[in-house]
């Protein structure tokens, strides 16, 4: 028996290092027919805002080479409906719940954090900073270390819940952003969110997505994600959660080797709803065969190349 427990924030110990990525696991309920979602390290909800949001018009998804673009537009039911209609079921199912939050300006994030502070059945917040900051003219919070740090500090003020900041990969220097938000009080980091991409319908001479651009996810982005996780995990001392193109246990284990304390499964759950559960079993099996007793001994154990 391998000890799969990991601590992803001070005091927040998960039974295993497998979480689900925001926006790919609904509010959890949809997966209950496929496996016992309490068996996961935890589930991360669809991104929630203060008010419900209808998302983008037109075509929202399109497949690309080994990946997909989405332009859902952060459609969600809003925090209140989540708390009243979804959270009770998740608690009954026994899932460890991490709520992913986003807003249009800093005050939205702080208000969400304050609202969720002390709510039973919520284990942590994941802050999605890959959102345009309406107040600052639409520049993403996530691409500027100072703006990101300010945002995280405001959220930190508003709640005593463990904070995971989810980083955007569309930046020149992800380590600088990572360090800034850790400095500002983030207990952990998760990365990567989607890469910004675009697809064109040649014959119609139009962008395929209603929103023109969208977020690229899936196996195509795994090399970029792995590189960023490796760089960030080498540079900060808080836990890092790896995300990006993970479809099986081997992918997940590679992220752990690179220094991730846990992983999130995204697009893979669309292809096979059981992916996350299969990955938990696969990690256990692999480590067992390797004679590794505790997953924490495996984490970050990548050998470095000679300099």
């Amino acid at each position: 028996m391998v000890d799969l427990t990991v601590e992803i924030a001070p005091g927040l110990i998960l039974k295993n290092p497998v979480l689900t990525a925001s926006g790919t696991f609904g509010y959890g309920r949809e997966y209950a027919p496929y496996f016992d979602i309490a068996k996961l390290g935890g589930i991360i909800t669809k991104g929630l805002s203060l008010e419900p949001k209808t998302g983008n018009p037109g075509i929202r998804i399109t497949e690309t080479a080994c990946g997909m673009l989405n332009a859902i537009g952060l459609e969600n039911i809003g925090i209140e409906q989540f708390l009243s209609m979804e959270l009770p079921l998740l608690r009954k199912l026994g899932a460890v719940v991490i709520v992913n939050i986003f807003g249009q300006e800093q005050a939205d994030y702080a208000a969400l954090a304050a609202r969720l502070d002390g709510v039973e059945g919520i284990s942590a917040l994941e802050i999605n900073i890959s959102c345009p900051n309406v107040k600052a003219g639409g520049i993403q919070f996530g691409t500027d270390p100072a703006a990101a740090a300010k945002l995280v500090a405001a959220v930190r003020q508003a709640t005593s819940l463990p904070l995971i900041t989810k980083l955007s990969p569309n930046v020149s220097d992800i380590v600088a952003i990572a360090q800034a938000v850790v400095e500002a009080g983030s207990d952990a980091l998760s990365l990567i969110n989607t890469l910004m991409g675009m697809a064109i319908d040649l014959d119609r001479k139009k962008p395929i997505l209603g929103n023109t651009t969208g977020g690229l996810s899936g196996p195509a982005i795994k090399p970029v994600a792995l590189r960023m996780v490796y760089q960030v995990a080498s540079a900060v001392s808080v836990p890092v959660i790896g995300i990006g193109g993970i479809v099986n246990q081997r992918d997940a284990l590679e992220f752990l080797l690179a220094g991730a304390t846990a992983v999130e499964i995204g697009t893979a759950s669309f292809i096979n709803p059981q992916s996350a559960a299969l990955i938990v079993a696969g990690i256990e099996n692999y480590l067992d065969r390797q004679g590794c007793k505790r997953v924490v001994d495996f984490i970050g154990s990548l050998e470095k190349n000679p300099a």
Partner: protein, 281 residues
């Protein structure tokens, strides 16, 4: 967990027990499944199908209507229109397909309890027949009457009027069929919506089930508005997951709460069949 079964949802690799070419680039696959799967099947429901290998191109599964089923198999009809469908069409008998389903709501029951059954107009354009046919095959296979049921079936040409032979068997149960082709190679020359419009003039009671290209469904919707008939449209929005988690397939609809409010509905779980009056194209 290699193959699961929970409530009425199945996730398994199915063997292709038969493959048939119906027309240029259109194939019917018969896939092996359990009885429970067939019990959960329903006219208008669909499955997400994928290639059973560990490669990631194509990445996502693709949605296909359940066309017919019987105890230990079910059939889908697939038109090769792109990378995903091409891969599926290339598989041979003995090969394996990754199946997830049955998914979606399916067509509403015909209210037979009130004695009087209102006439039912089934409207199929092109590949929409795969879904519409499921209604007819289901009646045929359970020996249900199809009196007062009309199939209006349009396709580009005679060659693409697939399944017509088999559907004709339902004439014995009362089904009446009218075909129309873009090029006039079978039945009338024109679009299936022309038949519908003409027939509705004499049938203010008829209910309509329609499946086909978006342009056709739009036109059906307009015709229904004029006639005031009740109708259902089966939509084919792009899907990533098929079970309600990605929000990729949503359709703008009039909100249930009335008052002209607008909301989004997931085609995969709240559809693919929607009351025609709800859909906002």
């Amino acid at each position: 967990m290699a193959g699961i079964r929970c409530w009425t949802l199945f996730l398994f690799n199915a063997e292709i027990i038969d493959k048939q070419k119906l027309s240029q680039g259109i194939f019917r696959l018969r896939l092996k499944s359990g009885k429970d799967f067939c019990r959960a099947a329903k006219p208008g429901r669909f499955v997400m199908l994928g290639i059973d290998n560990s490669l990631f191109d194509p990445l996502l599964r693709r949605p296909f209507g359940l066309c017919r089923w019987h105890e230990e198999w079910f059939e889908v009809v697939i038109k090769n229109v792109g990378r995903g469908s091409a891969q599926l069409c290339q598989l041979e008998k003995g090969g394996s397909v990754a199946v997830h389903g049955p998914l979606g709501n399916g067509y509403p029951q015909q209210k037979t309890e009130e004695g009087e059954v209102s006439p039912l107009f089934l409207v199929a354009g092109g590949m929409g027949i795969a879904s519409i046919a499921s209604y007819i095959f289901s009646a045929l296979d359970s020996n249900q009457s199809l009196t007062e049921t009309f199939l209006f079936y349009g396709a580009a040409s005679y060659a693409e009027l697939i399944l017509l032979n088999e559907l004709t068997a339902a004439v014995a149960l009362g089904l009446r069929i009218k075909t129309i082709t873009d090029d006039g190679s079978c039945g009338r020359h024109g679009l299936v919506t022309q038949i519908l419009a003409a027939e509705l003039l004499n049938n203010s009671q008829a209910r309509i089930f329609a499946c086909g290209p978006e342009a056709m469904l739009k036109s059906v919707q307009k015709i229904l508005q004029t006639g005031g008939n009740e109708g259902y449209l089966s939509l084919e929005n792009r899907m990533a997951c098929g079970f309600g988690v990605c929000l990729g397939c949503v359709q703008t609809v009039f909100a249930e709460t009335g008052a002209g409010g607008v909301e989004t509905a997931k085609v995969c779980t709240q559809g693919p069949v929607f009351p025609a009056r709800k859909v906002i194209f």
